[in-house]
């Protein structure tokens, strides 16, 4: 058996955050170094499109990622280095904070006869290419982007992150409701957003709360079912039963998929219809 030493380059949205996206892998098999990175092909310049798609809010900074890959390529190509040097150099380049950080050097055993380049490819696929626990954008930012795309904010009476109270006939508070976006006035409209990337329990709680809000909004006459929307990453949500409850109340078309590029159009059409 022989050993492969490797480290992953991780991208973090905030220099202090702990949840990152693996974007590149640098490895050493004892004889030579290997570099793999998102968008890095054989001999061609790096394609930054993949990085931009995974971190769209950093699209204009993608060139910094390319510079990091270039630096790791230089390290991998420093032919005189061996395992101990590799480990030392990675440790020297590691920073506790920053948007780009190298992980601690890890080790993987492989058979003597194994093709180290193929082992690195597999490792890259597993650790970098197919990483699934990364959201393309922070939730609040994603909602903001959706609202902009739906041309929501230009509508008279538009409010974001609204807390409101429905009142009984005697003026006492009946229910407290929260909407991520709301159009006040004669043609009211409410949008509720649920972060489906949260831990499962939290998703369940959020969806239950959204269903309660929807139910009471309709029952109290605050909103008509067709003017009530639920926005979430439906592909990421495993709470099918709760989603069905929402669909029963407001219709399947009004449960919008945050990852669907056409979703803002659905909302835009409803807003447009009511204004003309």
């Amino acid at each position: 058996m022989t050993k492969l030493h490797y480290s992953t380059l991780r991208f973090f949205r905030n220099p202090g955050s702990r949840r990152g996206l693996n974007v590149a892998l640098v490895a050493h098999d004892g004889e030579r170094g290997h570099i793999r990175a998102l968008g890095l092909g054989n001999g061609s310049p790096i394609d930054l499109g993949i990085f931009r798609a995974r971190a769209p809010e950093f699209a204009s900074s993608a060139w910094v990622f390319a510079e990091w890959v270039e630096s790791l390529r230089a390290l991998a190509e420093e032919t005189w280095i061996r395992w101990s040097h590799f480990r030392m150099k990675i440790e020297a380049a590691r920073e506790p904070r920053g948007h780009f950080r190298l992980s601690r050097v890890r080790r993987q055993e492989m058979p003597e006869e194994a093709n180290s380049a193929l082992v690195v490819d597999k490792l890259f696929d597993r650790l970098v290419k197919n990483q699934t626990d990364w959201r393309p954008m922070p939730f609040q930012q994603e909602i903001g982007r959706f609202i902009n795309s739906a041309e929501f904010s230009g509508v008279s009476g538009f409010l974001q992150a609204v807390e409101l109270e429905t009142l009984r006939d005697d003026g006492e508070v009946d229910h407290k409701l929260f909407f991520d976006a709301f159009i006040d006035g004669r043609q009211r409209l409410g949008l509720l957003a649920v972060d489906a990337w949260q831990p499962r329990k939290a998703v369940r709680r959020s969806l239950e709360a959204a269903n309660r809000t929807i139910a009471w909004s309709i029952r109290s006459g605050l909103l008509q079912p067709e003017r009530c929307f639920l926005l979430l990453d439906t592909m990421k949500c495993n709470e099918r039963a709760l989603l069905e409850v929402a669909e029963e109340q407001i219709g399947r078309a009004n449960v919008l998929n945050l990852s669907d590029a056409n979703a803002p159009q659905v909302l835009r059409e409803v807003i447009y219809r009511s204004r003309h």
Binding site: F65, A66, E95, G98, F158, D184, S220
Partner: protein
């Protein structure tokens, strides 16, 4: 979950908006307070005049537009520190330059490399090493930027007095440099002219903080200015005597 039939809905609901988390933006030109990334440096045993050195080096670099990171004085815990502004504000930090990339850097930025060497020779910075950031790819904006001048100026020798004397003496001081042997003579002489053409008053102004900076008093600041004025005039001769070191590989 039960939803009441339409018939039971009140005609006009009674409600009030209690709180709005985010109002729509009106106008986009309103000035706002912001934070910019910086690395704070303080005086230490190893570099007892670090803060003053860094501050003066930044000002001198601006005089000739040498490719050096910007910075300013700041207060921290009652003492004065130097805030070296992040090389690219508001962007993720670039990786450190690797030794195997030095040749490519000198090929990509021959003019700036010559400027950095000329500047380091003037201020007696023997510690350039890898204290620089650079971009190497076509997709990136062109950038070469030096930082860390704590071991130049008043700290180029064991004491402040020795350091000032050394600057005045016409010694090379910078025995080795990351870009020695990779400097274009033609570009270097252009930078040399820039340094020679600075007025004495401008150099004196750069060194004068108008107050004591930690341990560096007004007299020391004046002495440094005198030394730098002398060194600017001697620099061509210093380089001529050591041209093999500076220009040949």
């Amino acid at each position: 979950m039960q939803v009441a039939p339409l018939a039971s809905r009140p005609i006009e609901p009674r409600y009030r908006i209690v709180r709005v988390g985010k109002k729509p933006l009106i106008g986009i030109t309103t000035p706002v307070r912001a934070h910019i990334g910086a690395i704070l440096k303080a005086d230490s045993i190893e570099s007892s005049e670090c803060v003053y050195n860094e501050w003066v080096a930044t000002r001198l670099a601006q005089l000739i537009r040498a490719p050096v990171a910007l910075g300013l004085l700041a207060k921290r815990g009652g003492s004065t520190v130097f805030a070296s502004l992040q090389v690219i504000a508001d962007e993720p930090t670039l990786p450190d330059v690797r030794s195997s990339q030095i040749y490519r850097i000198s090929q990509r930025y021959p003019y700036w490399v010559a400027g950095l060497v000329a500047f380091d020779l003037w201020i007696g910075n023997d510690d350039r090493a890898f204290n620089l950031k650079a971009t190497l790819l076509g997709v990136s904006p062109p950038l070469l930027c030096g930082f860390d001048h704590s071991h130049a100026l008043l700290n180029n020798d064991e004491t402040v007095d020795l350091s000032i004397r050394r600057l005045k003496s016409g010694e090379l001081i910078v025995g080795s440099h990351t870009f020695y042997g990779r400097v274009s003579y033609r570009y270097f002489t252009e930078w040399l002219k820039r340094i020679e053409n600075i007025s004495d008053a401008a150099i004196a102004e750069c060194c004068d903080a108008g107050q004591t900076i930690n341990r560096v008093d007004h007299k020391t600041q004046n002495n440094l200015a005198d030394a730098l004025i002398v060194r600017a005039k001697k620099l061509r001769e210093i380089v001529r005597r050591h041209d093999q070191t500076v220009f040949q590989r």
